[in-house]
């Protein structure tokens, strides 16, 4: 008995081997190596300062020692707080709003019969579209061209056209001289819109699994629509809501390509490069010349995501009805 069991085990490992090798090489080792590199630094004689690990220096035989220097220099970097602040702000703004909107849209979609498939497709489109491409379209929608020295810029972006049609004054959303909050506003709209499809999909799936009889029972019990939504729908959907909130936070902290989509890799409007940089963008800045610092920043980001997820799980344990 034990012998056959052992044999089966051996075979099972054999079948798993290709996947395990790929995982080891492309996932496990990079993680371990990131942690290792994050703690490596050396004294540079020419710069007369401590510098982080970089593989070009490693290749020409420079010696590295263990230390926390990478972490301290990341935290002391001028850009670090901006990046962390932008990341936090965008996450905290977009996750609750996109979750609420997704919930409302999912409930609405679930309660209509005709045209449901069409609406579902429309809401799902952003999910299958390249986010850089969407970013460029957003940039065009919010953008202005025709900036000439000494003259008012001429806006052709459709958003400003609409605002002007309704009698408002146009806003410089993303171009040179635009304000930080205008930029954040654009990012907010873009990220919420981009995050909706996945959330709608998950919540709609959850809604379709809810027994219709609960709604009949609630009707007999005299619950208003609003109460039914809060007392029946939301609790019954709470596992799905918890899921989209947690993945939403994780996704929010990894925000990067949306900024690139709109502002390009300057990470900010012309003249204020880097003003909208995020943690991932911060990591990418160091990735080709100072892998030590990049790794340290990545670990800091990981620690933040880990902590926030733990808080999420702790809260959901109390509020979610499985």
């Amino acid at each position: 008995m034990t012998k056959t069991k052992h044999k089966n085990n051996w075979k099972a490992w054999l079948y798993l081997l290709p996947a395990l090798i790929i995982l080891a090489v492309f996932t496990v080792w990079p993680i371990i190596n990131t942690i290792r590199i994050a703690f490596l630094c050396r004294w540079d004689n020419e710069l007369e300062t401590v510098v982080g690990y970089d593989y070009q220096a490693a290749m020409i035989g420079k010696e590295f020692v263990l230390g926390f220097n990478n972490f301290t220099s990341v935290v002391q970097n001028d850009q670090f707080l901006t990046c962390l602040g932008n990341t936090m702000l965008l996450t905290v703004l977009t996750v609750p709003v996109s979750t609420m909107l997704a919930l409302l849209i999912a409930v609405a979609l679930n309660s209509i019969k005709p045209l449901r498939k069409i609406f579902q497709t429309i809401f799902f489109l952003p999910y299958v579209t390249n986010s850089i491409a969407i970013g460029m379209v957003f940039a065009a929608m919010f953008g202005m061209i025709g900036i000439m020295p000494g003259r008012e810029p001429i806006s052709i972006g459709i958003i400003n056209t609409i605002i002007e049609a309704f009698g408002g004054t146009r806003i410089n959303w993303i171009d040179q001289g635009s304000s930080y909050w205008a930029n954040i506003m654009v990012m907010f709209i873009y990220i919420v819109w981009n995050a909706l499809p996945f959330k709608i999909l998950v919540l709609l799936g959850g809604l379709q699994g809810v027994n219709k009889q609960y709604y009949d029972a609630a009707k007999v019990d005299g619950a208003s629509r609003w109460r039914t939504f809060w007392r029946i729908t939301v609790p019954l959907l709470s596992p799905m809501i918890a899921y989209v909130v947690i993945t939403g936070f994780i996704g929010g902290f990894k925000e990067y390509s949306s900024i690139v989509g709109i502002f390009g890799d300057d990470m900010g409007p012309v003249g204020k490069e880097g003003a909208l940089n995020t943690m991932v963008g911060f990591i990418y800045e160091f990735i080709d010349h100072n892998q030590g610092k990049a790794s340290a920043a990545a670990l800091i980001l990981f620690a933040i995501i880990f902590a926030v997820t733990m808080i999420n799980l702790y809260v959901s344990k109390k509020k979610v009805h499985y």
Binding site: N211, Q213, Y214, D216, A217, A218, K219, V220, D221, G222, A223, S224, R227, R231, I232, P235, L236, S238, H321
Partner: protein, 447 residues
């Protein structure tokens, strides 16, 4: 609260547009349910009993007809404004709420002048819980309760608003046999204690007979017969009702009446005074047989089930519609079976004749007087009694097929449908269901 249903009709549009033919789930349903009684709506699957219940609850809108609670016309009212309590077949307890929260939920939804204070709500919830004896489980979630306990919570939730009418949809179908017995007594007790007019739906005739004040037997959306359970059992108005009530089910034979004598096969088995000459179906209750060496009806015995006090003789007869005949006799008479043939005499009040064409009851001898007495008694008590009048409904599938000659095209589909039809709706009257189908199709072939 008296409940009156007037010409209540529910028509479901056909799902398949090409197929055509809408489904009439409930057809011109007229019923007056007296105040404070327990009524069982009884019928095979798909007879429209649940639809009727949901129309009374307001969850489904009738296609026609009126519903009155007392003098109020509630046809257009939404469920929460009707003052009903509804217990769903699978209870539909809110899984994320505790028992107490479940029971409180209907009270928390009250608005305006009916609004209660927190203390009042808790008091009412505790009272309801005590009534159904679940007080000790108030802080549990439904998933932590047994089926029977969940059932009681569902009843408590339905009762806590003090409804005018309590509706139960197949309340016992999700319970095991022992709990079912216990719970049906419980429902009876709760109904007696609260005196709330209660309507419950079931396909289990035993369940309906045991606890109802009145039963309503339905077939294909039409009332077949209403009345006190025992009376309906003793005096069925047509073959369907006779077959649907009773376990073991009634034995059906083909026979004929000639010169006030009843013949089954070639044997003259009973004198039937007052019955005209005609071809008939003969229904004989299992307890209607008397084993006797000189018995007038002979059957080939194929087995004997000993059940302690009684024995059940399983036999066959060429004129029998069902494959086996079951007769229940006292164990003392067992000695009267000699060899492979059992000879029976029949108890006249356990033998029912039905016209072969209409399947309507043909009464004879003392049955005529007994029936008249029963009807008079019911009328004197102010109780309702009704039977189906006019041609009895046939299986709707047959109707659709008769209208559609292009049946061969969808041969496979029709076959599948046929399979579904033959599938017995419930265990008890399964043999008859099959037999009925056979007679139906035979009748069609002849036509």
């Amino acid at each position: 609260m008296k409940v009156v249903l007037e010409h209540l009709t529910k028509i479901f549009p056909s799902r398949d547009k090409k197929e055509g033919g809408e489904v009439i789930a409930v057809n011109d349903f007229n019923l007056e349910i007296p105040d404070g009684k327990l009524i069982g709506l009884l019928g095979p699957s798909g007879c429209g009993k649940s639809t009727t219940l949901f129309m009374i609850s307001g969850l489904q809108a009738p296609s026609g007809g009126k519903i009155y609670f007392g003098e109020d016309d509630v046809t257009e009212l939404s469920p929460e404004n009707r003052g009903i309590g509804l217990v769903f077949q699978n209870y539909a307890l809110y899984p994320h709420m505790t028992v107490r929260q479940n029971i409180l939920f209907p009270l928390q939804n009250l608005k305006g002048e009916n609004k209660l204070t927190k203390e009042e709500m808790l008091k009412r919830a505790d009272e309801a819980a005590r009534l159904v004896q679940i007080g000790e489980y108030m802080n549990r979630k439904p998933s932590e309760l047994s089926g029977g306990q969940q059932q009681r919570v569902a009843i408590a939730r339905a009762l806590v608003k003090m409804p005018r009418v309590l509706l139960l949809d197949e309340p016992l179908s999700n319970l095991d046999a022992r709990l079912r017995l216990q719970t049906r007594e419980e429902i009876r007790r709760i109904q007696r204690d609260t005196k709330i007019t209660t309507i419950f739906v079931t396909h289990d005739q035993e369940e309906a007979m045991s606890i109802s004040d009145f039963i309503v037997v339905m077939k294909l959306g039409v009332i077949m017969q209403t009345g006190k359970p025992q009376w309906v059992y003793d005096d069925p108005a047509n073959l369907f009702v006779a077959k649907f009530l009773g376990t073991p089910p009634i034995n059906v034979f083909t026979g004929r009446v000639e010169a006030e004598k009843l013949y089954i096969g070639e044997e003259c088995v009973l004198d039937v005074k007052g019955a005209a000459d005609q071809e008939v179906f003969v229904g004989i209750r299992p307890e209607g047989f008397i084993l006797s060496k000189e018995g007038r009806m002979s059957c080939a015995v194929s087995g004997i089930d000993v059940m302690g006090r009684d024995i059940s003789v399983v036999s066959s007869n060429p004129a029998s519609v069902n494959t086996v005949i079951r007769s229940i006799i006292s164990a003392d008479e067992m000695g009267n079976i000699s060899g492979s043939t059992a000879k029976f005499d029949l108890k006249p009040h356990k033998v029912f004749l039905f016209n072969k064409e209409t399947e309507e009851r043909v009464r004879f001898g003392e049955q005529i007087a007994a029936h008249e007495k029963m009807v008079a008694e019911m009328k004197a008590e102010g109780q309702f009694y009704s039977t189906h009048e006019g041609p009895l409904p046939r299986e709707q599938d047959d109707k659709v097929r008769e209208e559609k000659p292009a049946e061969e095209k969808k041969g496979v589909f029709a076959k599948v449908k046929g399979l579904f039809k033959k599938k017995p709706a419930q265990p008890a009257p399964s043999e008859e269901e099959g037999a009925e189908e056979n007679t139906d199709t035979e009748g069609k072939k002849n036509a």
